[in-house]
Symmetry: D2
Subunit: 326 residues, 4 copies
């Protein structure tokens, strides 16, 4: 059965240091600024087809404003909205936002704000940005180590099973990989509506907080680019949390860092593996099996620090990067 | 609208030098031999989930025996068969073949043999081949530069529009990219049922022959591996036809070579770009536009030789590699 | 016996489009501008230790002004000058140039202008360019795909053996690789004073001209960067002459392009192989041996066009890129 | 002043599990077995020019038997021997060993056994191993992720300054990089006789033992190969100690692992930077400077575990891998 959702469209983040955040995405990750409006800046990677995939808005705390999905068709959008309304988690239609048509708002059980839409604006390159590579919506930028496209979002949840089930049952996501912790508790879920292993991951939030943001991932497609951006991060003082290394879940080469506003950003160095099997059986990593705990996060490369499992945005008391330590 | 087809399952090739062909795929491309039966050998890449993706059968001429697709569900299979039967191109159900359940046979308008099925055998690794990487169906081999999975098939067709329309209208493929040649003739079509740009490409066969095979592609996922296998091909006397270079269509890094039986094989060094947009508009390359002819085949890297546009298997009179020259 | 020469220091080029040339090296190859003086601009790569490695001076024709070598010590400089003076090719000491101490000028038998010095200025990074990587003289730039250091120079010569012998006998270079063409004529020589296969290559100039420049090479050290810069060149309209591909001679991954002034530039994607053997026997490629002609230039990757063997700067009548064709 | 030593020739190791050690180097690192004699096996990488670069001999404990250097010429050998004899550390000439001519034995002040020679056997490939790439002494192997050549050796020393001074003053090595620890003590030295940053590194041995072995490094030249071999190590149960990551000292991409006999092996993914400056000033990393402690070992990538600083071979009481922990 196919999902009513077709793809991840964009992510809206809050930053207490918006200009520094924009400089990070523009100068180091080579993203283009599409638009500025009020306290918000809209950006896209050079192979993102839509007008923007990242919105950064000034706020006192970092964190996620909302994640936007595109439905598979106008009919799928209507059907999707009907399913959400039955759950009581719907938030009604919102007026058009920049470059987005009518969008229906809702929350996950954990309280993450999301919206789904059909209509939206495609990026139409001005002559100086137009590429002769016809599937490339704008020229490869000459800044930093430019990311190619938005890949996925990872959210922390107080109750992984409930939120995972909502994404599956209401929105039609498929559970691709799953992580089982001590006592059999589900502590991680990787969900997708496409051949990707995930457009959305859910991780248990041990802090007791709800609705927090773990990271957004942009995609390179060549492992060397993780080495390149890590080199730049080290030279320009950006804090690397983990990697470059290779994940067990998703198999992808990754790097985690923090943008100046305090949100975690992941860079993906390749595609990992893709899922085409229509009868896919969820890959389960269980801490009860020898090696699974370590290998699911890190197939090889340096271990992830404690902060990876405890730090999210907004920051909650006693769980800042300094509190957690390395 | 979703396709009844979910994915490319396997390819069956003929080879006049079967043992040399098997050695090529086993020793240089690191594929595993799953089975031998009669005049046939069955192989898989180490991240292919099914029992095999390549069948090589001894024959006097190289060429393609058949391509096998998997339906999206048992219901989709039934619906797919019904659609095919309406075209008069159906060939009926065939008895089970090795590792494949009941399959419905049909031909494209050009005469390429295909089949579609739902049931098939998954590869279940013996202990010594089992990987601790749970999404990896068998350990990474220690031979050659091992390919990871089957990617796509490219077929030559006397009439590209008719065959492309058959794949779209009867089987539900989407037209992702298209190449328009002199006089407005459609000379190439890239079709898919997933986020990949193509599981199937069609190229005009100028020889007047019908139903010929152009190439099968296996996937690496890291561009360096194309450099590695090219180094090995040069050292071991395998003829490289083109690349390593980067395609315009699909954006992927590629290498073309010939296996000892005479069939063309492509290696894919990365994923190129992926398509998640549910409202994708076909990317059109038109020879009438400056730069499109060259850039569609080769975004950068050495030009493709004449053989690329004229040589297919089975070989037809006056179109052998020697006849065509470089 | 050790050479009096220790290393290649810098190259001075002429350009009829100096600002466009500087933009090419600065924006696409990420080089830093060290200085501007008169009609000249001085640049360096971010891991070049000296004040500059490339000087670009406005002139009506592209071509090479001079190549500068550093002696192994003050004593070696004196000895080197004595050797040159015996040949009658010496040109005397010249007044200090920017960032270079006293230099002794000379010509090769073919007329290429060279100079040798001991004293020169090191680059001392201002605080904002200082790297925490202590062997890196300045931070990795955020522009284009930044080259790391100057690698080598390739000169065309009417008489390869005479010029090669001069470099060996007078300056102490070692002959690392050699190419023998039709009739046993020496058509190429790769010479070095270090573990590199060459700091200087000589190629036969079939045009009848003397003292011409073939190319200068800057070094990346990671093969992926050749794919990256080729992608940028294709997007920004820079003409690629050959590659990315792998040389037989030197084994290095390479790319050839033309800077806007018309001079050929090579990018080196790795180190190739290094020579530590104190008793190295010259590697000889002889067109009389099967495969040597092709494999010496291109171990794998697309063939080099005719222009590679005929075009040099300054351009001579009938040998422009347009005249030669592809 | 040039060194009497030209290059590192070979390393002889002890292994309590010689057949497993040989399988590791042959199957996973793709090395060729040149010879077997007594309890010893001799191996070489496919771009090692000499008959062997690694000798593995059965013994009850892992550790280093000896390291062999080649002099720059027969005259340099004589001069080198004269210098050593003056120190009282000379051990006399030894009878020819396999593929090595007359060699003069000596010890470092710490007791590491070394020898220096001029005459030795080059590898002469049999027809089936001969490469058409004329600078490649044998075809690229089809096993594992084959290393290309021996790169360097790292030894632990109770007294780094004394041993470093011996290598400089007696053998003519240059001090390229240096690490200063707490209280101003010299804890690491990187020494070379060529453009490489080191053929020999010395690290302080905090265990109180003398003359121990830290690691031998083989070279790939392409960063992706570290990711490839790490993938294989994870699949085949080889313990990775650190990396893939990038060193501060030498700038090279690296991976540390343990061969089955217990000796540490490093793989080098690129060349790092090369030193051509004849007046090179030692790069000093001082723990007293902020960031130097961390950045000198790891420019980026996961931290090195305690074992890296404490484990060497032979193993001394209380310093086994199990004792040290992670």
């Amino acid at each position: 059965m196919h999902s009513d959702i077709a793809q991840l469209v964009s992510l809206a983040l809050y930053s207490p240091k918006p200009e520094e955040s924009v400089t990070f995405f523009h100068d180091l990750l080579g993203m283009e600024i599409s638009h500025r409006e009020g306290q918000s800046v809209y950006l896209r990677a050079y192979e993102d087809f839509y007008q923007y995939t990242l919105k950064i808005t000034e706020a006192s705390q970092p964190g996620m404003e909302a994640v936007t999905w595109r439905a598979a068709s106008p009919e799928a959008l209507a059907q999707c909205v009907a399913h959400i309304e039955q759950t009581g988690l719907g938030g009604g239609w919102c007026a058009d936002d920049y470059a987005h048509g009518p969008a229906y708002r809702f929350c996950t059980p954990d309280g993450h704000r999301m919206q789904v839409l059909w209509e939206l604006d495609y990026f139409d390159a001005p002559p100086d940005l137009k590429s002769k590579l016809r599937s490339r919506p704008s020229k490869r930028p000459l800044r930093g180590v430019p990311v190619r496209r938005l890949d996925h979002v990872n959210l922390m949840a107080g109750d992984v099973p409930a939120n995972r089930a909502f994404m599956q049952e209401v929105l039609g996501f498929k559970l691709r990989e799953q992580k089982i912790g001590e006592g059999g508790a589900e502590v991680g879920a990787w969900l997708s509506v496409s051949a990707l292993v995930h457009e959305l991951a859910l991780m248990r939030d041990a802090s007791g907080a709800r609705g927090r943001f773990h990271h957004v991932a942009y995609w390179y497609g060549a492992p060397q680019h993780l080495l390149d951006i890590a080199d730049i991060f080290s030279d320009y003082g950006v804090r690397i949390e983990g990697g470059p290394a290779k994940h067990g879940t998703s198999q992808a080469y990754f790097l985690y860092c923090f943008e100046p506003g305090g949100n975690r950003v992941e860079l993906f160095g390749d595609t990992g593996y893709l899922i085409f099997d229509p009868d896919w059986q969820t890959v389960v990593w269980n801490v009860a099996n020898e090696g699974d705990l370590e290998k699911s996060s890190i197939w090889f490369g340096g271990a992830l620090p404690k902060s990876f499992y405890r730090y999210g945005t907004p920051v909650v008391g006693g769980h800042s990067l300094e509190d957690i330590g390395r």
